[in-house]
Symmetry: D3
Subunit: 271 residues, 6 copies
């Protein structure tokens, strides 16, 4: 494993820094930059050394533009990350993503790590192996909003040269929690590797990568993202025995068992 390159960025922005993955990355990304700016709609706690905390509603255009001033690169975890009603998703993930990219353009930011989701392609079956060119089949409003963000990022690359790594993150938790996550799990270490590789690779243009560990089972094929240099090191097999014991059978009549998106595919109806 390569040592951490210190001080690659003068100021890195991490949005969604108060969420689950955000708290984890707040700690992990600090060594890669001089200043780590943290943003969330929720309180961020005390700013540590080299940290800058800016509580921001992504739907607030002026605030978002301010948040982006002086930033070199963005790790965008912000917004809604679960299936929710239309209004909050519209506000945080659609309007919010637009505000973010418009702000990035205005401030000359050239690289974004965009935390997209496996739910962009959640309506593929679990016996299909998909790759970066597989068309979106969102499994709900959340996945739909992330598909929007992906297309938005492509537009800002084609128009303005802002590079984005679209990371369709699987299930990033300390451990996989159920049988589906044996395929979709990404450890925090591998999440860190993915973020760092995405920010560091010399040329990324608009690239799609699935964010999973080196699990023996998976629905995803990352060969088209090999230029990123992301090589995961963890494997969910460590947890396989226990999870298979706990859930020996799945019910294929339940869409949540059949489709890649799991339980997201049967939330709603939307309101």
């Amino acid at each position: 494993m390569p040592s951490k390159p210190a001080f690659r960025f003068k100021r890195l922005l991490l949005t969604g820094a108060a969420g689950g993955l955000g708290r984890e990355l707040r700690r992990r990304l600090k060594p890669y930059c001089i200043a780590l700016r943290l943003s969330d709609i929720d309180p961020l706690g005390e700013a540590g050394a080299g940290e800058e905390c800016v509580q921001t509603d992504l739907a607030d255009k002026a605030a978002v533009h301010a948040m982006l001033e002086g930033v070199d690169a963005v790790v965008h975890l912000g917004g809604v990350s679960t299936e929710q009603p239309w209004e909050p998703i519209l506000s945080a993930n659609i309007v919010g993503a637009y505000n973010l990219y418009e702000g990035a353009r205005k401030h000359g930011i050239k690289r974004v790590f965009f935390a997209s989701s496996n739910h962009v392609t959640g309506f593929y079956r679990q016996d299909q192996v998909i790759d970066a060119d597989t068309p979106p089949r969102p499994d709900g409003l959340y996945g739909l909003s992330k598909a929007f963000g992906e297309d938005l990022a492509r537009l800002y690359f084609d128009r303005y040269g802002i590079e984005t790594v679209v990371a369709r993150i699987g299930s990033s938790f300390p451990e996989p929690k159920n049988r589906r996550m044996l395929s979709t799990w990404m450890s925090y270490d591998d999440l860190e590797h993915l973020v760092v590789a995405s920010l560091t690779a010399p040329v990324v243009g608009w690239s799609v990568v699935y964010g999973i560990s080196d699990n023996s089972s998976a629905f995803y094929d990352n060969r088209k993202a090999r230029h990123l240099g992301f090589r995961p090191r963890d494997n969910s097999d460590v947890y396989r025995h226990a999870l298979e014991e706990a859930e020996p059978q799945v019910d294929l009549d339940d869409p949540a068992s059949l489709y890649q998106g799991g339980a997201f595919v049967r939330t709603g109806p939307f309101e």
Copy 2:
């Protein structure tokens, strides 16, 4: 050419009925249904025989749901159809499309003709021939909003079985107006054929078709949409000589000449 099948629908809804294509289709679709409901944010004039006029802002959820009551199928031209600032596009094409599909779900509507646009893929070069599986590369906010609508339609098909024909319409005018339109032009007759084929085909699921006439030159390959039965009959070659005379050279240093989206690719910057 097959005769027109009369009365296939009890009540067909045409949104955007006061726009350029809307006025044309208002006249042409009437024979295919008993009642033709017309909707637009702009005034629709007097309702003719068998017509129902409901002036509707697509961003108004309640109004949209009311508009959909008792409808069998929808021809959705409504919303913004040019490059515009974010706010009106967000309102009409993103919120509006969501309201439309949610309303369709509530009222049990099973088939939608969704007027998408060549601007969903406007950042491909004019020397590339693309097809239904080519990933979106929107050329602006308008194209981006249509890409959103396409993904939304896929979600409503995967979740709720509402079928949509996504028609990436080229340039539908009485005549092609410039050299690019020799490739993208669709006559009004062929537009009518496309709408009728899309509403009539027994199974469409979620299908993508490019809306152009049988032009000798084109950037699009429709072979994956052959199940729709759309066979265009007009050809822009009738206008080729005059348009080539009028514009003998194109400037390939101008993105508007190079990319499929034409002048849309260099609008903005967005605000």
Copy 3:
């Protein structure tokens, strides 16, 4: 249309000559050969001028081998052509096909027109457009037996150089009978063209072609078979208006409406 090339074959064998398509081709193929040998398990009537009638059970190896003696090329329509129980399909279409190719090998026959069926791929949806490389998804035992025959033909080409055109025939009748057949119909004239092109093309190796007329709507893409020179001339649109009137709606909850194979997909269960 090219004139008919007379006497291309000294002796052409037509199996299944007493069936629906067989009777049609019996009449049509005579001009292309000096002797037309006719075979069927059912009586073939009086042999006309230049005809040779040999009533043959395809499951009878010795009889099949005798039937092939002195033959230049085979048009193989014989065997079961509807969904039936396992035993007759096994006998006529699996054992029968094996006997046919073994006999062809022994007698040095170099070209076979193999009447396969759209039911080899009947479990694709009607909104999918498939081509010669799409993997089989048979819709019943009949389709399964034809998939076997296709693989058998490939083996005999790879091993022994016997060339076969695998023609996945849609619905060859005087007229299309229902809405699905607007997509799958092949006129008798086009069937004749397909058979003649398949027997005449200089090199066919092992080729797959879908046997349909030039219908505006179709589930099939024949571009990989262009070397055969099959260019259909009829179009089911002549019958479209009447069939759409007669059957204005299809029920997508019925697999027979949803899948390409139509009613075949819900026959059985097998016994």
Copy 4:
């Protein structure tokens, strides 16, 4: 390596249990189930603890249906596994496979591991790398019969939801025996992993996987089967030096050296 999940199945059926691979799997699969039913046309010896021995001719429909009673899942190695004349292959591999799937349907069995073979695609050259979607090119009657079984399994999945992992097994022996097997070899340990992964994966639908170890050289690409979670651990390189010494040159004029199927491609002619 994950521990073995105990008692996943109440009663697992292993056909072909008296053959080479069968004897190996008899021993290895016992820990995964409460009862292991064993079947073969040949004698199976004494039933051990938790074993049930039912000597069965696969061509005997009633016997096959009886054999399947009370079974949760099937590992189907039974039938002919070498190139043989048509009659035994027809009986064991075609009629036998049909009897097996019909019985599975009647008894509500939902998962089958179908031991297919590299001979389904044996007529590809050894310098071609093929994958799960590569069309069959059987190299003989045995490969042809396995192609039939694969299509049969697909039909039973599409019709009745019976899931099958089609495993195109390479050369499963204690050691590779010749240079070709450096590419096609699968160790018994990896065979066990493949069977267990195939039976355990939550969703398999109808999946194709090539059964080889993690050999440095191979003709197969398994990326489309990654959802199965099969990750082989052995590598034929251990044996490479000795086998290359023993057979330093291959004769490319010999089809057995040129094609993936090896010596199978030049057996026959069939009778």
Copy 5:
């Protein structure tokens, strides 16, 4: 058919103007330009009105550069167009093509019609249908030299923006001369259409098109070149009957019958 656009080019260069196709195009291209410069290694006869004759050896760099002065666009037929020994092919087609593109770069020429050949892909079988992305398989030194020219053209596009239409011309003669040419024939009228479309299309980048008429049988699929606007109008079927009568059987043991390149595949050995 569109009228001929007059005077699109001030000065068009036609190389190889004394050859078979050259003489034909000399006459046909004149109306499209003010000055038509003609070049060949052989005498060109008297210059007609609006013609400029410059006898040029393509291997002579200075002469080639002089020939290109003042030119807007090039139709490059020059060089060897049959299978010949290495030296003349090297000189005219490799060194000559290099001289041409270097000269074009120096003189700011932006568009080339490059007469390539079906012999670039002549080692595909006649039962394969290939397209613009199919890798080269040249059938001799001539085809090899044309593959070189194609790659050279791509380099000059990627480096210097010089656009080229690579036209893999089939068999352009007044009439097809043998059965293979039923597939490869291009009429002179269609050749003219192809040249004009290639020079006129607004954006061509580096495009590959197969130069054949609208023959019913063909080995080529031009759907990826639809942006060029080439729609052939002639069909070799007019000559089919006579040619099939004259050559009723082809010998598949002869590579000249089996491969697309015809007799070229068995010329040589090279010296």
Copy 6:
């Protein structure tokens, strides 16, 4: 790692033996053969035990043919391996390659390792992952000449059965020298493995493989070359930290940073 198979070849020819890679392979290939013939246009020093030194200009046909006498297989590194003017490239890499293959044909040589280059595809962007079927986009005259050699090799395989492994070598040096080489680097050990695998694999036909180590980041996908048995063992990550420190930012406005070919893409203009 397998032991080295001794004496696989009686006489192996290494061209370009005085160059950087040549000197390395001279030492490494000796154990695999009885006689190692060495060739270069430059002096080769004293012949060691089992070595034969033949100073040869590849452009000299007679000398090349003499050099090939008695040879079993060729490792062809000879010729120009950097961007240079047209004349030396033409002479060494085009004429030279032709002389080599013609000589190979005359002397019955059946296997060539052809050192091609990543510069054959140097005009792809560094965010694209390409494979063996990706069409050439040479980045200069050197890459163009290697594309010629690849097509030449294919011709000699299709015509005469001479097998070639086309190895598009990345950057083979003791260590990667810059950030681009983190993706393109191949260690000398892995180069040796690649050469040996290419010469040893039983069937190679005409195969393309990218010559890189097992780097975490890469632009290349070698899955279609898995039949060769090349499994690299080194990884540029060892050098990543230092190289990223030394060159923290790349300038994407510089084509040398953007394209796979690196600085080669902006050499010239050619003369």
